[in-house]
């Protein structure tokens, strides 16, 4: 019976409780909802769904599943029981394996099956299992890191098939205890037999050159390896005394060449190297990392320091961007030069500035203005007016929810896999800040998981009073590899960045998870707010003015105050306190911006804890006195005449009133009107002006349409389970449809085009490929006509099926979407 149909029956027989558990563990099964159990089973067997389910398995579960996959065969009905698997998993017990198998069955990743033919009555009583059909595709060609068998290699590697008979013959003649063979398949079986037990392999390896063991150890986790010139001709017959390990192994067929640069360690060799086990080390408990400690005081100091610093820097980024928006490159993102400008104004290095800009971007504090293609601060930003702890929470929420990975900024484009394929740049380019390349859709999930792991490890470590465990990337990665081995690769590229960012946000302090971090990891942001509120001092309302022309804000200065100060002084230094230095240039800038000396001094007097030092007063007053010596105004034309009375007359002439004349010197009058117009009016008054060279003035006005505002980010943790209501709704649908044909043994044919039909068709097709049997296909040709064909499918790949047409005796390629349905010929069901 089809595995999918078997699963469908099994699912229907489950209790509601068990289905609920299944749906929470594999939410994609009911999203979107499925009409009945057949469809549910089809989806659960689908490649994508299985892949997602595998990502959630922990290491022992994966190990049991891979072992089960290796020692079963759905086509022959060869199932396996816990007792059988236990023999292949070193360090396991039947009870443990059975429990795991049961849990996998609950997840619909394995099915109960009949015991294989010829099982002893005792064995037949045990529960037997088969893995779900698409597991093979999802696990890949090296389950448990073991290679393929010799027979399979002979079948798939023509070069090896050609050589293998000769190789076995040479071995036999060379004195090895291997039976000679005449066909490749026989030779493969001989090799398989020769290397079948750990003892026999030990014997073979006893004469191996040095370094062979070390070389083989490198195939411990993965059966394929790269060697130069993998297809060299190595033979045992003319082997020199100082033969290298690779030649030695190739000559004995212990490594099989795949192509010019790769070799594979065959299955039987791999298993024998692992002492006859498929899994060498099995443990139900996660590894416990050895962690250092830091004091709670240091941790708090570091976390709070980082928060204050980050908030200050974000404020500075916004200030800088308000002064001049961040321009983007045509290819997207902010270029290195622009980042350098930002970094210089923040007095930090480019990488840190990039991370900060990303943080501002993800929090919506910076927005890409579509018209000017520049990052600007949205007007009326609510963030600016919030108390600091809420500003912090805003950033943290935005960070948790963001699908961007700031730490990728500055890294080479190609190293940052897996990015969207369309955004790969040429080699050697690096990822720009705020560009599409730093997008990582899985970032929120990974972040959540990292925080969870940090929390787990911290709780487990149970540090003594006043101490906190120091968690590093290695410890987190090790745990991630245990809890979700299939996800670990994604972790490894992001984890360092995530930890660094968490440190910046004070979730980690001095290497340990801070109280704030623990509260965030436990999804209790209010606790975090409370803790932070206690420790962040209120904004200062005063500065200390000094005779060396500085104003020191001994702490966090009220943002409004700080902004006003920045108009008349330049900020210096980096840290909790800010030093504002007054200089002729800075004061002049304030004067240019329309402030006058009295207002500035008034402002300073108001916000200074001490009297204004005399040198500062002199600086402001002297600069102000010098400031207006040259005056600039706008005029469209001027009238100059040595005859002052003529000008006076002109000023009083009613006809010239429209020109808006202003006398700026005894002999010069300026007009708001253009030169020609002025000249015309003058001519009308009977004066004969000479037109001086006219130049047109272009006034560029800045665009002032406001960019859209920015809302407070709301973080909802990435869902790992669907909402309860959805589960219940789905259950109701399934039970309602299921009750129409309760317990019916016969399956209604799947509706054509349904998910179920597709999965069933695919299952049939794959099975036919494995067994090399015929199927009947309903295919639409390029004219839209449906035809029925009997073919032997050869392979499915990239949306196409390669089929052999026995009538025409030729191979063809069909697109999968052209196939309406696939029907097995009778032989398949035997």
């Amino acid at each position: 019976m089809s595995l999918i149909r078997a699963l469908s029956k099994e699912l229907q027989a489950r209790s509601d409780e068990s289905l609920r558990a299944l749906f929470s563990a594999r939410p994609d099964l009911i999203s979107p909802g499925v009409p009945d159990f057949a469809a549910l089973a089809a989806r659960a067997s689908g490649r994508v769904s299985v892949q997602r389910a595998l990502e959630r398995l922990n290491r022992p579960q994966m190990q049991v599943l891979e072992t089960l996959h290796l020692c079963t065969n759905a086509d022959t009905g060869h199932s396996a029981s816990a007792a059988m698997l236990k023999k292949l998993i070193n360090g396991s017990s039947v009870a443990a394996v059975d429990r795991i198998l049961h849990s996998l069955q609950e997840l619909a990743l394995v099915n109960r099956a009949d015991p294989p033919h010829g099982a002893t009555p005792a064995a037949a009583k045990q529960r037997h299992y088969l893995p779900v059909g698409s597991l093979k595709d999802v696990i890949g060609i090296y389950p448990a890191g073991l290679g393929r068998s010799y027979t399979e290699l002979v079948r798939l590697q023509p070069a090896f098939a050609q050589r293998v008979v000769q190789l076995v013959g040479e071995l036999h003649r060379g004195g090895a205890t291997i039976s000679p063979a005449t066909t490749p398949m026989e030779a493969a079986l001989s090799l398989q037999h020769w290397t079948a037990t750990p003892e026999s392999l030990q014997q073979i390896l006893a004469t191996a050159p040095d370094r062979t063991a070390a070389l083989l150890a490198r195939f411990g986790n993965w059966a394929m390896g790269a060697v130069p010139q993998a297809q060299r001709r190595a033979s045992v017959l003319h082997e020199s005394a100082d033969v290298g390990p690779v030649d030695w192994l190739l000559a004995r067929g212990l490594l099989v060449p795949l192509d010019a640069a790769h070799v594979e360690l065959p299955h039987s060799v791999g298993v024998s190297l692992r002492g006859g086990y498929v899994i060498e080390n099995f443990s139900l408990a996660p590894p416990v990392p050895r962690l250092g400690h830091t004091s709670a005081g240091l941790r708090r100091n570091a976390a709070l320091g980082a928060i204050a610093e980050t908030l200050r820097l974000v404020g500075e980024v916004l200030y800088t961007v308000r002064e001049q928006p961040l321009a983007t490159l045509r290819s997207g993102g902010v270029g290195v030069r622009e980042m350098k400008r930002l970094a210089d104004s923040l007095r930090m290095d480019v990488h840190e500035a990039g991370v900060l800009a990303e943080l501002c971007g993800m929090a919506g504090l910076l927005r890409l203005d579509v018209d000017s293609s520049a990052w600007v601060q949205p007007p009326q930003l609510e963030w600016l007016s919030l108390p600091r702890q809420e500003q912090w929470l805003w950033l943290v929420n935005a960070w948790l929810a963001s699908e961007r990975a700031p730490s990728l900024v500055g890294q080479p484009v190609n190293a940052a896999a897996p990015g969207p394929a369309g955004h790969r740049g040429p080699a050697g380019t690096t990822i720009n800040a705020l560009s599409a390349e730093a997008q990582r859709p899985d970032a929120p999930v990974v972040r959540k998981r990292v925080l969870e792991i940090l929390r787990e490890l911290t709780l487990e470590a149970a540090a003594p009073d006043g101490q906190a465990p120091v968690l590093d990337a290695a410890a987190v990665l090790e745990r991630a590899e245990w809890t979700q081995p299939r996800m670990a690769r994604r972790f490894s590229s992001l984890i360092r960045g995530i930890l660094a960012e968490a440190e910046m946000l004070g979730l980690i302090g001095s290497g340990a998870l801070s109280q704030l971090g623990a509260a965030i990891a436990a999804e209790q942001p209010d606790d975090a707010l409370g803790i932070l509120g206690e420790h962040l001092p209120a904004a200062l309302q005063h500065v200390l003015l000094q005779a060396d022309l500085t104003a020191v804000a001994p702490g966090y200065l009220d943002p409004e105050l700080s902004e006003r100060l920045l108009t008349m002084a330049a900020a210096e230094g980096q840290g909790p306190a800010t030093i504002y230095r007054f200089s002729v240039t800075s004061v002049r800038r304030a004067l240019d911006a329309g402030q006058d000396a009295a207002a500035m001094l008034d402002f300073l007097r108001q916000h200074s804890a001490t009297a204004i030092p005399q040198p500062l007063q002199y600086l402001i007053e002297d600069t102000a006195a010098r400031h207006s010596r040259l005056r600039v105004g706008a005029a469209a034309s001027f009238i100059q005449s040595e005859d002052e009375t003529a000008l006076l007359e002109l000023l009083n002439a009613p006809a010239a009133a429209g020109l808006g004349l202003v006398r700026i010197a005894p002999t010069v009058v300026v007009s708001h009107a253009a030169t020609r117009e002025t000249a015309q009016v003058l001519r009308g008054l009977g004066l004969a002006p000479v037109l001086e060279e006219a130049a047109s003035a272009v006034v560029r006005l800045r665009r002032s349409t406001p960019a859209p505002g920015s809302g407070r980010p709301v973080y909802t943790a990435p869902r790992t389970a669907p909402p309860e209501a959805d589960i219940e709704a789905q259950l109701a649908v399934l039970r309602a449809n299921g009750s129409r044909a309760p317990g019916s043994g016969a399956h209604p044919p799947a509706a054509p085009g349904s998910e179920e039909a597709t999965q069933l068709g695919l299952e049939t097709l794959l099975k036919a490929i494995r067994l090399r049997q015929r199927v009947i296909m309903n295919v639409v040709d390029s004219m839209g006509n449906a035809t029925r064909e009997t073919v032997v499918p050869v392979a499915v790949n990239g949306g196409r099926v390669r089929v052999f047409d026995p009538d025409k005796e030729m191979e063809r390629v069909l697109s999968i979407h052209r196939i309406i349905d696939v029907e097995a010929t009778e032989e398949l069901f035997q």
């Binding site: 001092p537 000094q546 060396d548 022309l549 500085t550 230094g573 909790p576 005399q614």
Partner: protein, 548 residues
């Protein structure tokens, strides 16, 4: 939340709020490892540098203590990266030690094998090392002790020099404490130095560095070489030693351009030692050829490069550096550290001022308006001439006269850069002028007369900048300065900082032409002085004579 007086910044500066009740306590705690950078009236700023941290390590302070101090006194959380950086930096000092081995002579030992591997592979260091004795020890050519230390510092692995010193030829020297006593801080400085072996004592101008030298000589009681900046300073050292110690005229020799005497205590000028003839330094033998037990470097911050080179060869002799500031305009602080030694004593100016040993100074900037014709001339002048034009304005001469009149009866100096201007002022005031071409003898006579009160006003050019004792000068008027060098400013002020008999505060005027380059340079000067903690006022030239 702590409420300490310190704010530790992530850019490695520490701000100290002076008015805080714990400020004094905190100041003492951090002075050991941080360099005071600026000391304006409310918030002082200190800087953490590798050298400063290593100095602290040399003085026996460990990283834990430093971190603890910062965390205790800091008002806000201390940047974590800074804490790590401090720990890291401090742990580098002393991983390599230079020691005397009874069998192999000078050796370099380490407790950290990879470090020794790293440095012994450095291209420049390899030739200085002899054979490896074992994993942790390597022989050092004893002639290369100084150079090795210098290079190790550059690599960031400063070596602790425990190899000891040669004794030198004994020569009894005693302090002659009749009618005066060594001040407590001078005593402490000398003791710290002696305990450390070699190193630098930092004391403000006028705080009696010479006496620290004398005390060190008395402790050593060996033949001593004193290196000073110029002949006048040499004479002053001699006078002071005669007055304060048991040494007699015959025991003290002067080794300068004019006289070449080698006596048990010899005072030589930097200039004569660095005179080059035919590619050689003919007077180096003075240093090498005698068995000195102690070498004193006056004004270490001015030590010329060739002296560094010869000091590198003198590592087996005790070395005392005296200075008012470790800041060198050429940034060679590292060489002072590795060749002369770590800082052994440092007293902030303000502390010594507060104890009443040096007089507080009152700085006044007088802003002078240029008359119209001078302004026009200034506006049209070439860039190269602009400064001279505004600095030598005639108005300044008039203001000087008014100021001199105001301070009649006080000992007064007029300092300037341009000889013509000084000559003119000297003529108008009827005061003698000391400039480059004034003979040493004449200078000496004039200074003596000034000290005795026979001459009340002296006009001096920049020859007066260094090391000339002018006690009782209570007013100085600077008419022009050389482009606002910080060094020069400290020296000029130093002239006036000698304690006054009646405890009056010294007055330092600088005349500045408004709206010119002069004012820009003055701004730098003003910043420096204010940062040094001097009261700084600005007044208009027209107010001179009305306000005190």
């Amino acid at each position: 939340m702590n409420d300490g007086p310190l704010i530790v910044q992530s850019d490695k500066t520490i701000l100290l709020e002076v008015d805080h009740e714990l400020a004094t306590e905190a100041r003492h705690a951090i002075a050991a490892f941080a360099e005071l950078e600026r000391a304006p009236e409310h918030v002082h700023s200190y800087r953490l540098t590798p050298l400063g941290l290593w100095n602290a390590r040399a003085a026996g302070l460990d990283a834990e203590k430093v971190l603890d101090t910062l965390l205790t006194y800091s008002r806000f959380p201390v940047p974590h990266s800074l804490l790590i950086d401090i720990e890291e930096t401090m742990s580098r000092y002393g991983r390599l030690r230079l020691e005397k081995d009874p069998q192999h002579g000078l050796v370099m030992r380490t407790s950290d094998y990879p470090v020794l591997e790293e440095v012994s592979r450095a291209k420049k260091i390899a030739p200085l090392l002899g054979p490896r004795i074992d994993g942790e020890t390597v022989v050092v050519h004893s002639s290369q002790r100084g150079q090795l230390k210098q290079l190790l510092l550059k690599l960031g692995w400063p070596a602790e020099d425990l190899a000891g010193y040669v004794d030198g030829t004994p020569h009894p020297i005693m302090l002659n404490e009749s009618g005066w006593k060594l001040r407590p801080y001078q005593q402490l400085a000398a003791e710290n130095f002696w305990a450390g072996g070699s190193g630098v004592v930092v004391l403000p101008c006028g705080a009696g560095k010479t006496l620290v030298g004398a005390a060190a000589m008395a402790t050593s009681s060996t033949t001593t070489l004193i290196l000073v900046t110029n002949t006048v300073a040499a004479r002053q050292w001699k006078d002071e030693l005669l007055k304060r110690t048991s040494l007699t005229e015959e025991e003290i020799g002067e080794y300068s351009g004019s006289v070449k005497e080698v006596r048990p205590v010899t005072i030589a000028t930097y200039q004569v030692l660095t005179t080059k003839r035919g590619g050689l330094y003919p007077h180096l033998e003075l240093v090498d050829g005698n068995d000195w037990g102690l070498i004193i470097y006056d004004e270490v911050h001015l030590l010329p490069a060739p002296i560094f080179r010869m000091t590198a060869d003198l590592q087996a002799r005790r070395r005392l550096g005296l200075t008012a500031t470790l800041v060198r305009e050429d940034g060679r602080e590292g060489e002072v550290f590795s060749l002369i030694g770590p800082k052994r004593y440092d007293a902030p100016w303000k502390d010594i001022e507060a104890q009443g040993y040096i007089a507080p100074a009152d700085c006044v900037e007088v802003r002078v308006d240029l008359p119209r014709d001078e302004r026009v001339a200034y506006a049209m002048a070439e860039d190269a001439d602009k400064y001279r034009l505004c600095a030598t304005s005639e108005t300044k001469t008039r203001v000087v006269e008014e100021l001199v009149a105001e301070h009649a009866g006080e000992q007064l100096l007029v300092i300037g850069q341009y000889i013509d201007q000084l000559d003119e002022i000297g003529e108008r005031l009827g005061a003698p002028v000391i400039k480059g071409d004034t003979s040493v003898k004449e200078r000496q006579r004039l200074f003596d007369a000034f000290r005795a009160g026979d001459v009340q006003t002296l006009v001096v050019s920049k020859v007066a900048n260094f090391s000339i004792d002018l006690p009782e000068a209570s007013v100085a008027i600077q008419v022009s300065g050389s482009f606002g060098s910080r060094q020069e400013e400290a020296q000029r002020l130093g002239r006036l900082l000698r304690p006054k008999k009646d405890g009056r505060s010294a007055r330092f005027y600088s005349l500045v032409a408004r709206d010119t380059l002069d004012q820009d340079f003055a701004a730098k000067r003003q910043r420096f002085l204010a940062e040094q903690g001097y009261a700084y006022r600005i007044m208009d030239a027209k107010d001179v004579g009305t306000a005190g």
